[in-house]
Amino acid sequence: MSSAFELNGVTCRFGDLVAIDEVSLSIEEGEQVAFIGPSGSGKTTLIRLLNTTAVPNDGSLSVLGNAIADQSVESLRVLRSRVGTMPQHLGLVENLTAIQNVILGRGGQRSTLRSIRDLLVPSRGDTEKIHQLLERVGIEEKLFTTVSKLSGGQKQRVAIARALFQEPEILLADEPVSAVDPARARDTVRLLAELSRELGFTLCVSLHHLELAKEFFPRLIGLRHGRVVFDGAPDLLKDQQLESLYELTADEMMTDA
């Protein structure tokens, strides 16, 4: 197995704020990893580093074997089209239909003109493919519905379908369940984990919801103040480490979740 991500002493600063502090870790292709930690611990910055929209101030980062600092604009763009990202706020175009949003997933691999054509007259093949993807995520009947008319959970499904249509080698998801109710959150995380196994892409998810992370991910990475404080299987995570992670007792953790 080759590595999806290699971080070596990576530091990322925004002004005086050190968001990521000398992090070294490696994630293999095909792994399912959850980043856990309280808000402000650096999860979002880590995701941004991994999808190459932020660049380390110190240290080296390579994605799918490509060192980020050396990439030209064009090669970086091509690299990004191999890594899918589901941002926290989904980033859907609300007044386009589901199919139009999903088809944009492949825009990184297509020309600008082709993308405009895709929006106006999607090809037969793409339409069929997107219909299958929407069926897989459970909203097949919403193919031609405007996104603004969908519920929060359904919008999330559209964002997942967009990521799947991209056929990425890695999928990054930033707090995918922050805006939905607990029952739906569990469904979404399970769906992502299942899809990752089924289709064989690497999955990295940032979660503040510890129980979900423990249930579905074989590897957890705990962050605090931009440093890695835990890296391993969920059953190795001790209450004591949890406490240092959140500075809360385990009991409080449970009620909080």
Partner: protein, 290 residues
Amino acid sequence: MNSTSGKWGRRRWIVLGIVILFFLCAKSLGLTPAGLIPPDETRWERAGAFFKAALSPAMDYQDENVPEDAPPIWLKGLYGLLLTLKFAFGGMSLAIPLALIMGFFGSSSWWPEPRGRILDLFLRGAFFGFRFLMSLLRSIHELIWALLILSAFGLSPLAGMVALALPFSGTLGKVFSELIDEESRDASTALKAIGHRPLQTFFVAMLPAALPNLITYSFYRFECALRSSAVLGFVGIETIGLYIELSHEEFYYNEVWTYFYLLLALIVLVDFWGAGLRVRLNSFKGGCEA
């Protein structure tokens, strides 16, 4: 929450200043209540006749010399409305493509990031150049554009349409670029993260997201174009404004009111049509800025 606490503070002084400003203007212009009364006997009579005619718009020509076989006045009025609509349609169909081009260069949301120094200078140059061009176009009223174009090229339908299109493209272009730049950039950031080019996100995310607002705003400007097109009648272009002016010259006040009511009805109709469009497009920004 300070602003909702009910304290007036500095707002009181702004309101007071505006009221004082009004009296200063009134004094300098010689605006007195007495000016609202017609100055002499003939004008008194004229005003009386004029407002009485408002209650009985003409159903027939007041002019005795109109030939027997002339179309009835309401038909002539409707024809005038059609001509008014024609210039509005013609002018807007020229103005919108112009505005889209100028608005594109007057918007910064498609600029690549990062970019070289030369490209950056070029983009900023184009940005300010087109913004200035748009300001210049809209700083001259359509009636004056008409005056200039008619003087330079002579009377023709195209001249009227171009005169309308130039200032309107300036206003539309400015508002287009602002509406696009004000849209949320979440979608375009998300798409750039999966390899879209900046220009590509402009066309597939920013523009589609702003489209409902662009459409409702264009529709509001269409309504303005109708009014302006009627006014172009006063420089000799055949619209309903010309009929109003001609009838007024002969003191046919009832005819004036007939044409005026027809024009008003058309504009109100278009206003309601636009309101319907706004509701169906879920857009509440149209018509607010210019």
